[in-house]
Structure formats: C-alpha cells, structure tokens
C-alpha cells in the first residue's frame, strides 16, 4: 500500500517489514517490527500505530528484549 513507516511504534527499531496486505487492494497493510516482532495494521488507531501516541506502559527497550526471561526454560539435554 503505502511506504513503510520509519520506526516501530513500540521499540523504535527502524527495520519494519510488510507481513500482509489487504485482499481489497490499497486498504491496509499488516506491518511487523524486525526486532520486537510488534505487529500492527496500518488502519489501527494512533495509540497502536504511531510512536508518539504509543502507551508508555507497553513500550519496549532493547534491554527489555535482551533480558526477557524464557518461559518455559529450555531444559538441559539428556546425556
């Protein structure tokens, strides 16, 4: 549809890919952040699609992503 946005609304990463596009041409795209995997449709409200309107509570930093715990933990390999 349109040009891809410059950054992820959630983590501000600058690589965003198009995951899907509307079956009716030109209505919307589904985009995804290459780092935090946040996925959004271009027709969603600003609070979900624009960095400046994205809720502070849900923003992620590179440290949040790097330090995220594993659930469930990967178990040790059996010998």
């Amino acid at each position: 549809m349109s040009n891809l946005p410059a950054e992820c609304p959630r983590c501000a990463f600058e690589t965003v890919a198009r995951l899907a596009t509307s079956p009716v041409p030109g209505v919307w795209d589904v985009l995804q952040c290459g780092r935090c995997l946040y996925t959004w449709r271009t027709t969603e409200p600003a609070r979900r699609t624009r960095r400046e309107a994205y809720p502070e509570n849900f923003k992620l930093t590179p440290a949040d992503i790097a330090n995220a715990i594993e659930v469930p933990e990967v178990p040790p390999l059996l010998k």
Partner: protein, 475 residues
C-alpha cells in the same frame, strides 16, 4: 443434541435468537474486539456475534462470543437456553460419569477441501487475523484446540493432549506459543527438548462447542479430552487423522494447522491481555513452524475476546473448572456438595461441604490447593456449609460475614505454586494462598455462638413453588 462442527452450532444459536449478524461494514480494529468486549457489558444472555463485512477483507467470516453467556453455554451442552447456571454445572457433573466414551473416527473431514504446504503456507491468506487489546503484541489465535503427543509414549491415546493455549502469529508461517509449565503440552515439550527434538503439533480452529469446552478443561495427564467430549456430548466425538502429524484432531474443525515446536528455541512474545484481566508478556516463548494448513472452503474464523472479566473466557472455563475440582475432591471427601470455581479459572474457589468433625473444612480447602489444577490456581478458598449455595454470592457473603472469626478462620500459607500469569504472584509463579473457613464450627471445634441458627421454615419450599406458579400463571 450433539454438534459435530461450529457451523451447525451457529445455526442453532441463530434459531434460538442467540446469534447477532453484523452486516454493516466494520473495521478489523478496534471494532471486532470492542463489539465482543461489549457483549459482557450489556447484561445477561448476550448473543454470539458474526461478522462478514470487515473493511479490506473480501471473504472474512468471523464468529466471536460463541460461548459468551449462560444461554449460549447451555445450548452448547444441548440444554434449554434458560437453564440456570447451577443446573448446568450439575448436569455437566452427571455427564462426566459417562467418561470415557470412545471417539468415532471418520474419513471425510471437511477441512480436507483445501491445503497449503511448505513455502506456500500463508496464515494471513486463510484467516482474517486481527488484534484484540491495545497492548497486545500482535494478532492471536486464542480459541484453538491444540493437539500434541507424549514423545516417550506417542501411541497412548489418553496422553495425547488437547488444550487451549495462547498463540501469537509472528509470521506468515510462524507462531509464538505459550505452554504454561503446569499444562500438559509443557510436559510434552520438555521431553522433546531434553532429547533435542522438535515437538510435532496440530492446532485446530473453529471447533464444535463441546470441543472448545474440553480443550480448556483441567483433566488428568492421561485422560483423553476426546473421550470426555463424548461423555459431555452424549455421543462419540468425531475425530479424523491429521495428514502431516498423524494426530487425532476434531473431524469438524474449520482449520487444521500442523507443524512443529522448534526444539530449544525461544523468541520474544506478547504481551497479551489475559484471562486474569491483566496483560502478561515480554518473555521469550517457544516458536512453531507451520508446515501445512488444511481448511474448509470459506472457513469461519472463531476468536474469543478476553480482558477485564466477565468475558466469553469466563463462561467457557467456568463450569469446566468447577466439575473436575468437584470430582477430585469428592473422590476422597464425599461430604463436598458443590464447587464454584468460576472466578479467573479457579484462582479463587468457593466450596460447600458437610463437616466430618472439627477442622474438616480447612482440610478440604488444603486438598483443593493440592489437586492438579490447584497447584497452578486455587490461591483463595472459601469454605461454606453444606446448606449454603456456593453459586449464590449473597449467601456466600452472609456466611463470611456471620461465620468467620478471622483470627482462627483465615489461614495464609506462604510460598506456594501458582501459574506465572497470576498478577499478584511474587515472584512470578509463587504466591501465598488463603483459606477462609466460613463453615459453622463443629465438635470438637466449639468456638462461637452458632447453636441456634435460623433456618428456612419447613413450609418455605412449598410456598416458593406456589408463588412461582402463581407468578407464571399471572402472565
């Protein structure tokens, strides 16, 4: 009446006035989720919602809130739509006794009509995916019946698990998956990952209404959900063999997704607004690679809104949490009369029980915490007398206000296990648990002044029937 697929149940909901077709064009976001959210805010007996005119889609069919009222839950069990909730739970418990009922294998599954394989798999082309809550990390499959097998015992039909788990779509053929450690699929995954092997998995969407109920039901590890579905339906559950994994999947599914959980891999997932009424996420979760999708022509995409209760989720996992706890408690304590575990999948439960002797009710409370489901839930137990209806919250509040001496009747046990999603846990997965004993003390527990309770008059039941009859005839 047993339904073999979602479509036949939607037809019944339609005939019973419990399906609302929304034919005006809506936006995928926020309309679909907001409408489903609103079903929980318009009073009792809200209908299921069916959307077929969603902006940007050419062929979307979306069903939501299918189980989202007591009327719909009753119809799912083949009961009259006005069946009171307590009677629905009692009927559920009666049918449980028919377990196990062997399933019926059929060859002509309608989801064999269409297939995508390997590189051509594109979930966005099959499913009209959309976001539920503002903070969700993406689009979710949250009402699937997910099938996996025990890697150490793959031919054991009972150990084959059917469960509902949250699944985030993170690519055209990739999913992030949450196996809570207390749940059976987490045991399957652990065994596979200890050997460095992928875990094959089949994800079925848009199922008959009893399949959705058993998939969210806390059952023993080696009990088959299909055999329980047969008991609850009163007819064998129709199953078919999934083409890639060979797993047993519901015959009537709209969509069957097959692939593997990739061994020893974790990727950032979430958050997702959960049944606890809070988001959880920002954690690294297992990842599924999808290798095959089979689907009915013009599939109906079924989704479930969840958020601040009550939502469809609470109806779906209300009775199916009460009954296993009731059965497990009664196996050892026949004094247990009824269990209301309808709050947040049994994070809090209310149990009515007769007392064998002083201190007995507290023992029942402790046992509830140590049932298989209790290990991950049941962080608060309220015990009430055998003549208090645990589904009648004003009665329960009366019992708590009149019977509880907090110093002796409130017991808090520190550092017990709970599912990591429990918002009050500290750290995640660990919580204190509480018993509130609101039963009347019996000998040798002689505390309090309970010797002269005011009971309903002997003639009251007769008068209740007479008044109801007069009211009915007045109309």
């Amino acid at each position: 009446m047993a339904y073999d697929d979602l479509r036949s149940f939607l037809d019944t909901l339609d005939k019973e006035g419990q399906l609302l077709r929304i034919t005006d064009e809506v936006l995928p976001e926020p309309d679909l989720a907001a409408a489903a959210n609103a079903t929980g805010r318009i009073g009792e007996n809200a209908p299921a919602l069916y959307f077929n005119n969603v902006k940007g889609f050419t062929n979307a069919r979306i069903a939501m809130n299918v189980h989202g009222s007591w009327a719909n839950h009753a119809l799912a069990l083949g009961l009259p739509r006005n069946t009171p909730v307590k009677e629905q739970v009692e009927e559920f418990a009666r049918r449980w006794d028919a377990f196990p009922v062997a399933p019926e294998r059929r060859e002509d599954a309608p989801w064999r009509e269409n297939t995508q394989e390997g590189d051509e798999v594109d979930l966005f082309s099959v499913l009209p995916l959309f976001r539920l809550n503002d903070g969700d990390g993406g689009f979710y499959l949250d009402k699937a019946a997910v099938v996996s097998r025990d890697p150490d015992d793959p031919e054991h039909f009972g150990k084959q698990n059917v469960g509902t788990y949250r699944i985030q779509v993170i690519g055209t053929n990739r999913l992030a998956f949450q196996p809570v450690p207390m749940h059976d699929v987490a045991q399957h995954l652990r065994k596979a990952e200890e050997k460095g092997e992928d875990l094959p998995i089949a994800i079925t969407l848009g199922n008959d209404p009893v399949m959705a109920i058993v998939a969210g039901m806390p059952m023993a590890y080696d009990q088959s959900e299909y055999e329980m579905a047969g008991a609850l339906r009163g007819a064998p559950a129709p199953i078919a063999t999934a083409p890639l994994t060979g797993f047993d999947v519901p015959w009537g599914s709209e969509v069957v997704i097959e692939g593997v959980i990739e061994s020893r891999k974790r990727q950032i997932e979430g958050p997702f607004g959960e049944f606890t009424g809070h988001y959880s996420g920002g954690r690294r979760m297992p990842v599924i690679r999808v290798d095959r999708v089979s689907f009915r022509t013009n599939p109906v995409f079924e989704s479930l809104y969840l958020g601040m209760p009550w939502t469809e989720c609470d109806y779906l996992v209300g009775p199916n949490t009460c009954v296993p706890l009731l059965k497990q408690l009664r196996a050892e304590f026949p004094e247990v009369k009824a269990v209301n575990a309808m709050y947040t999948h049994g994070l809090m439960v209310i149990i009515s029980t007769a007392k064998r002797y002083g201190g007995f009710a507290k023992a029942v409370g402790m046992r509830a915490m140590t049932t298989p489901h209790g290990l991950g839930y049941v962080s608060q137990v309220i015990l009430v007398d055998e003549d208090v209806d645990p589904f009648n919250l004003p009665q329960v509040m009366w019992a708590m206000s009149a019977k509880v001496n907090p110093k002796d009747d409130v017991v808090v046990i520190p550092n017990l296990s709970v599912l990591e999603l429990a918002p009050a846990a500290q750290p995640a997965g660990i919580t204190s648990k509480m018993i509130i004993d609101a039963t009347t003390p019996v000998s040798p527990d002689v505390r309090g002044n309970f010797s002269t309770p005011a009971k309903d008059l002997p003639e009251t039941a007769q008068w209740a029937a007479r008044l109801q009859s007069m009211l009915a005839n007045r109309a």
